[in-house]
């Protein structure tokens, strides 16, 4: 009977198309919006991804990575003296205005790293060498920032040049020249500004007037010392806050700065509500369209189901037929919707906007929700058919 049930479903192409549209749209909305949500949330802890270190140390009042509370430079010595620390390097992060060649200002994320060890330096440089940061007035800009700030560049003829900044180009930070010696490839951040890397000492110069410039300390544990254990020791011995740097959302520990950043944005911004609303909308639209279409499919076939009942099919058989029909439509609808979400995601990833991270878990959750929609649709149909009297087939 299940084969016939499927033939009944596929035989009514108009209804099937409508049903699949509803389910696919629902799956698309849920998967795409969830992926954009996790993409945006992944941007909130971008510094953790770009600036690589096993342990981060901050002021005890720091709640998330974008909210640096300056430390004293002497804190670095205190951390270095903690048992189990292999090395500790200073890190400066701040938002400053950069003045471009055309006179416009651009908010940038200034990252000052240790000039001796280059701890926290970007992993990939598409142009230039990291060692050149030791030259005077030098910076490394990320690719996206170079393209963005390039629009504010001026060519030799004095007209806007509209090409990405290159090695050798200059701009100003607080009236101090910044000469580009490298272009790096890093992940974009929630705050939107380009990443501009320089040395820690030069960053002090760029942030004139700031009494304290040590935002975080990047720490490497000695061999055999677990990051979480070292965090405990640092907190106990210095009174500072120490964090692990795991950024994998499904496995990060309680000490992860990325995790705390994620939840800070979760509880302090309207992002989850906005995207949660969109996902719920997808769910309701799916239930409404699919439920209604499937119900109308059942209504249209009601007298045939009644005839099948009269011929001796039990309600169990008919219920399973309806479930097979609804779940088959759900599977196809999910495939179409998830496929479209992937395709849109590819375009987004190529364009870099908006951020898009489709975890397998998102697909599984969407799959489960689409099957849930199918189940609701099937149950509505089953209730309707169960109320049909087999004797009704004799009433013309």
């Amino acid at each position: 009977m299940y084969r016939l049930a499927l033939n009944m479903l596929f035989g009514d192409r108009a209804k099937l198309a409508m049903l699949l549209c509803g389910l696919a749209f629902s799956a698309l909305l849920m998967a795409q919006q969830s992926s954009v949500f996790f993409g945006i949330m992944s941007w909130t802890y971008t510094p953790m991804v770009n600036i690589r270190a096993q342990v981060w140390v901050s002021d005890p009042m720091v709640e998330q990575v974008n909210d640096a509370k300056p430390l004293r430079d002497t804190d670095l010595g205190r951390v270095r003296s903690v048992d189990g620390v292999a090395w500790a390097a200073p890190l400066h992060t701040s938002f400053v205005q950069a003045r471009m060649q055309d006179g416009n200002f651009k908010l940038i994320t200034l990252v000052g790293i240790d000039a001796d060890t280059f701890a926290g330096a970007p992993a990939v440089l598409s142009q230039g060498r990291i060692e050149d940061l030791r030259l005077p007035d030098t910076v490394i800009v990320d690719e996206w920032g170079a393209a963005l700030m390039g629009r504010m560049g001026v060519g030799p003829d004095g007209k806007p040049r509209n090409t990405p900044l290159q090695v050798g180009d200059t701009f100003e930070i607080n009236d101090i020249q910044a000469r580009i010696v490298g272009i790096c490839r890093v992940k974009r951040a929630f705050t939107g500004g380009p990443f501009v890397y320089t040395t820690y000492d030069r960053a002090k110069g760029y942030t004139l007037g700031a009494r304290r410039t040590l935002s975080f300390m990047l720490v490497e544990p000695q061999k055999g010392v677990a990051p979480a254990e070292l965090c405990d020791r640092i907190e106990r011995d210095t009174g500072l806050k120490a964090w692990t740097s795991d950024t994998v959302i499904w496995s990060w520990g309680e000490r992860s700065l990325a995790r705390n950043t994620f939840w800070w944005f979760w509880t302090n911004t309207g992002i989850p509500f906005s995207f949660g609303t969109a996902v719920l909308l997808g769910l309701f639209v799916g239930i409404a369209i699919s439920g209604q279409t499937f119900y109308s499919f059942v209504l249209e076939n009601l007298r045939y189901f009644a005839a099948i009942k009269a011929m001796g099919a039990g309600m169990g058989v008919i219920a399973r037929m309806l479930i097979v029909q609804a779940f088959t439509a759900g599977l196809i609808g999910f495939g179409l919707g998830a496929g479209m979400a992937q395709a849109i995601g590819r375009v987004m990833i190529e364009k870099g906007m908006p951020p898009f991270v489709m975890y397998p878990q998102i697909l599984w959750a969407t799959f489960a929700l689409v099957l849930g929609i199918s189940l609701v649709s099937a149950v509505i149909g089953i209730i309707k058919v169960s109320r049909v009297d087999a004797a009704s087939v004799f009433r013309g």
């Binding site: 033939n7 001796g312 039990g314 004797a391």
Partner: protein, 242 residues
Amino acid sequence: MSRLAHTVAVRATGVDMFFGTPENRVVALKQAGFEARRGELIMLVGPSGCGKTTLLSVIAGTLTPQAGAVEVFGQRLDGLGQEALTAFRRRNLGFVFQSFNLIPTLTVAENVMVPLLIQGRPFDEAHARALAILDQVGLKGREEGRPNALSGGQQQRVAIARALVHEPPLLICDEPTSALDKDTGAQIMQMVRDLSRSPERCVVVVTHDHRIFRFADRIAEMEDGRISRVVDDPKLLDTTHL
């Protein structure tokens, strides 16, 4: 069981059936009695609203009467639960409906296969048997088409094939010719008679189409919810009120 009991296919005695609320009760059957034998084609006739369809539904086990006894091939139906009734219909009954009730999204062959698939027969076996019986009803070559592409007469032939494909001992036909013209109706009745004729099978036809009375072995006339008389010769019936 006596030989007499074997010859009786359907026996209904003292059947009461009413619909609606106690305050607004519509009596459909009132102490109705009915008997059909193996090997015969019996017609239930009468004016609209006399209770023909209700009695047919009671015999088919799709309605349970409020009072009385219904026995089909020695099996009391009035005491059976829904599941047992469903299983009974699955094994013993074939249906030909007034409006055919062929599923338009299935092929002709798939429609015919339905009773066999309900019985849990394998798809391939059901398909082979459907093709064979469609050949018998003269629809060879139309098996993979849709029912809507067929004429009314052809659709009713498909319905007959579906009703007989699982070889049920009781064939229930509800106004099988009402949607057909005179000649087609006669052809269909001839086919019902030819294909269903078997010493073990009983055919019960509800109709008000007096043009097909000649196909009946016996005719039971209903009036006001009960059988008023049973005749062997249709000429004995007054058909002016049908």
